[in-house]
Symmetry: C2
Subunit: 332 residues, 2 copies
């Protein structure tokens, strides 16, 4: 059978556009023993995918031009030659952006039947973004009660979880976001302070929100917000470098104030990471996040775009800050 | 009695000069029980002192204008009201820049009588710089056999020890220095590669010297050398941020390529530190460095300037790269 497939048409230089994507019909292979035919239900679009659209070496291999893009997908088993995945099962895995696909049973994970969370949360709170928040905050930042934690991109899928986890640790939490609506949502979620970096004086707002300095910084954004945080670091501050979305579409090498002297004076630690660094501990993370969610201690937002044909728009929307929480595409 | 004293005449903006120092006679207090009269033998001049000449908050309190400067000093007890420090003892401590001074016995440490090392080494290999190298390399960088370690400012008091310690750990060691003579000395000390950053193409030389990338970077210098290292980091690289001497006299905020994306992609860790972070472990460090020195496994160089009146020149010489190894002033 043939299925609608989204391929990388060309590599963007700078801001990606719809022209860098192309839809085409691709033939699926026949089912073999141990494989399943999957119908895509939810597609995850994530900022890290911008890096994979370039040819530069990074922590994940680049997408190939004229080949399907791929990422986190929730899908339903519609035909099965697997003994572990019966028809009707919902699974999550790293899968090609196709309406249907054929996948080995071992390449996907079964979504627990009794889960209180919607299936799409396995692309968000209980998936890669939630685990990124969990390990980056708890393992790298290690906030202590009463410490001050700053989260940039706080209304995104990762940042929203980071802030709530930091509150669970007893920290004071400051978030930055790109609209007044997002700021209001962060305050509802329990953030102590939040401000709109597009309209506020970033350095002054941060300094006012962190009168005792900054002990932990979870950075999703980079650029001017990060520059401002560096000026407020306390002794032995910990910085989890998770993303730099403000710089991903830069066409020249980004330049800014050098941070080293500030990190040196404060004996600060800055740790780059990717969630796969913690692969052996993922089950622990999913278990703990699920427990906190079931106990009502964590909330989560999704921005759902409908229709397979709208995946490029949903992805491009990430860089315009259109999503609050996790951006997912629901496929009919 | 009065003694010749070196005070901070004014705070430098940018490059310090002799005009920022002033010699004056100061009256010493009378000896009290538990204090000693010390005659200064060796005065340590160190890059970090530049920071203390400014009023900006840093990890050590600023020097006060019109007050004596201070730092590491080796001195001889010439009068004693101490039961632990008899006349003739050699001690080391953080002391004012005076030809004579009165100090509480608890503010100084006795130099072991049977030490195979010259007394001045307690300002260098067996003092603050050696301990800085020891903890920064072994605790932060943690080089493994076969890994590649880069040391900037490698011919300085700290860098020279870092490189030798990295060789003792079985690593491949690359050093940067500011003259061909220093480069030759590094190769004698067992560095695998070394180059003169003033005459070489830094990025090309580093890339050629590190064909397998960089696992550890011990940074004394900052600026262009550090920028080049960031481009060569291997996955899970460790960076010990020890000094930024190339930027200390900058009169504007230093600007450069943003490192965050590079640290993120490699899951690298960057840790600022000051040797006092490791205060509880200093005895361990001195014991281990002394053992390796006594076994002939560590060599150390000093650049000795003679005469109390030449302390400012020796200090200013640090920023011109005049010293190989530890810069000390020998006081008659």
């Amino acid at each position: 059978m043939k299925t609608n497939t989204l391929v990388l048409a060309s590599r963007p230089h700078g801001e990606p556009t719809a022209a860098h994507f192309r839809f085409e019909e691709q033939e699926l292979p026949a089912l073999q023993p141990g494989t399943v035919l999957l119908k895509t239900r939810y597609v995850s679009v994530d900022p890290y995918m911008r890096g994979r659209m370039s040819s530069a070496k990074s922590y994940v291999a680049p997408f190939a031009v004229n080949e399907p893009l791929s990422g986190g997908v929730v899908a339903e088993v519609v035909e099965s030659q697997s003994t572990t995945l019966p028809v009707g099962s919902l699974v999550v895995g790293n899968l090609p952006w196709q309406e249907y696909c054929v996948a080995p049973e071992k390449s996907v994970s079964l979504i627990p039947a009794g889960s209180q969370a919607p299936a799409s949360y396995y692309l968000g709170l209980l998936g890669m973004p939630g685990l990124t928040a969990y390990f980056g905050l708890l393992d790298i930042c290690q906030p202590k009660p009463g410490e001050t934690v700053v989260v940039s991109g706080a209304a995104g899928a990762v940042g929203m979880v980071v802030g709530q986890l930091a509150k669970l640790q007893g920290a004071r939490v400051i978030g930055t976001a790109g609209s007044d609506e997002k700021v209001a949502r962060l305050l509802q979620l329990g953030f102590d302070e939040a401000f709109n970096y597009k309209t506020a004086d970033v350095a002054a707002s941060l300094a006012a929100a962190a009168p005792n300095g900054v002990d932990c910084y979870f950075d999703n954004v980079g650029g001017a917000i990060t520059d401002a945080v560096y000026n407020l670091l306390n002794k032995h501050a910990r910085i989890a470098l998770c993303g730099q979305i403000s710089l991903y579409n830069s066409t020249t090498e980004p330049v800014g104030p050098r941070p080293e002297a500030k990190l040196l004076k404060t004996s600060a630690r800055l740790q780059g990471f990717i969630v796969s660094d913690y692969l052996p501990r993922w089950p622990e993370g999913v278990r703990q996040l699920t427990e906190w969610y079931n106990q009502g201690k964590l909330q989560f937002d999704e921005t759902v775009v409908e229709g397979f044909e709208n995946i490029p728009a949903a992805f491009l929307g990430l860089f315009a800050g259109e999503n609050t929480g996790k951006a997912v595409v629901k496929v009919a």
